[in-house]
């Protein structure tokens, strides 16, 4: 789950490491207030928690947000993606993953814009 949603009392389902692989917290640790600060300092965005069901995307809730956008906005997003990636062959898994991230990013922007119109 996203670190933003983590609460004291939850138990970590897996080891938490920083970007370079260094161990920060052990699996089985019961999360406390000071752990939340550690996670934020080291830029950890998502952790596994015991008892949570299924994989949650660590990159915001853009799937639910996309459902709230108008068809015009969704078309504009796809058009923008096509334009940006016109010179790239999209077969490699990392490019597929990158496009998905860009789509999420654009979705959130369109959503923010719609909110503040």
């Amino acid at each position: 789950m996203s670190t933003n949603k983590l609460q004291p009392g939850m138990v970590l389902g897996a080891d938490v490491k920083d970007l370079s692989g260094r161990l920060l917290l052990n699996a089985g640790t019961e999360v406390q207030q000071q752990h939340l600060k550690v996670l934020r300092t080291w830029g950890v965005s998502g952790v596994e928690v015991v008892g949570e069901g299924g994989e949650e995307p660590a990159v915001g809730d853009s799937h639910t947000v996309a459902a709230a956008l108008s068809p015009e906005a969704l078309t504009a997003i796809e058009g923008e993606i096509e334009k940006r990636f016109v010179a790239v062959t999209l077969s490699h898994p990392v490019m597929v993953a990158l496009v998905a991230l860009v789509r999420d990013d654009l979705t959130m922007h369109y959503f923010d814009e719609a909110l503040f119109k």
Partner: protein
């Protein structure tokens, strides 16, 4: 009219024939086995704007240091002298080009793209547990500097390259090659060479669109290649093009990263990008 060569183009740039004095003095002090921390700190302290920028950097999330860094000496011990030299290089180069008027492409947009690429390269280097991550920041920051040279020296020709790229739906660097016989990567490499910067930087910049051609430093080239793609994908500024450059699969394989590290990389990039733009671009 004799066709323009890369060397000819660089030779025309009088304002940037050498790196700022403070960088040269710092480099000399760091390489001198008899110099110590206080001499290095003294050199830095002479430039109050630079010192302030470096302190902000040492205190930023990019270094995650648990307590406040108040002095230049402390900042040096935290960041390390070699890394510090790279950061001074980064700041100096931006300073060098700061007051040049923008015509064909927005200077601010150019630096945003360069900073984004620098941050992304640094993040990738961190994931790969590189010993000195700051040099990857410099590599990313300087990767498109050749383009800056091209549009400052040949603004009309550059405008035509942009037009050709749009018309034929080509990546901008391919349009450059068609029109000039060389691209901005080659120009950047020559500038790095003229500035006597490390070979790894020269090859990284020179091969950032063709990392498979990097003979001595393939990881540097691969890192900046991927970082440039990611920065363009999220459109964090622009160096003139509006599309993501072609992806060389070998570069990804070379780095040894996994696909599920990509979201982490993107998130760290987003996290540090704003702070870096703020620190490096404020007047």
């Amino acid at each position: 009219m004799t066709p323009m060569t890369v060397e000819g183009l660089i030779a025309r740039c009088h304002a940037i024939t050498s790196l700022p004095l403070i960088y040269q003095r710092l480099d000399e002090a760091i390489n001198d086995p008899y110099s110590d921390l206080s001499r290095i700190a003294a050199i830095l302290s002479e430039d109050s704007a630079l010192s302030a920028r470096l302190l902000r950097l040492a205190n930023s999330a990019m270094f995650s240091f648990p307590s406040r860094v108040e002095t230049v000496s402390r900042a040096i011990t935290i960041v390390g002298t070699k890394q510090l030299r790279d950061l001074v290089l980064a700041t100096s180069v931006i300073e060098l080009f700061r007051d040049i008027p923008q015509e064909v492409v927005s200077m601010e947009s150019f630096w945003r793209h360069s900073i984004a690429t620098g941050i992304c390269a640094r993040v990738i280097a961190t994931c790969r547990r590189e010993a000195n991550v700051e040099r990857f920041y410099v590599l990313g920051l300087l990767h498109d500097i050749g383009r800056l040279i091209i549009y400052l020296q040949l603004p009309e020709a550059f405008g035509r390259a942009i037009g050709l790229a749009a018309e034929k739906r080509l990546p901008l660097y391919q349009a450059e090659r068609e029109l000039f016989g060389f691209d901005h990567a080659a120009v950047g490499q020559e500038l790095m060479r003229k500035w006597k910067l490390p070979a790894a930087l020269q090859e990284g910049v020179g091969c950032h669109h063709a990392p498979q051609l990097a003979a001595r430093y393939p990881e540097d080239a691969a890192t900046v290649h991927i970082a440039d793609i990611v920065a363009n994908a999220f459109r964090m500024g622009s160096s003139g093009g509006s599309t993501v450059p072609p992806f060389v699969e070998q570069a990804w394989e070379r780095l040894g990263l996994t696909v599920d590290q990509l979201p982490l990389i993107a998130e760290q990039l987003a996290l540090h990008y704003r702070v870096a733009v703020d620190i490096f671009m404020e007047h």
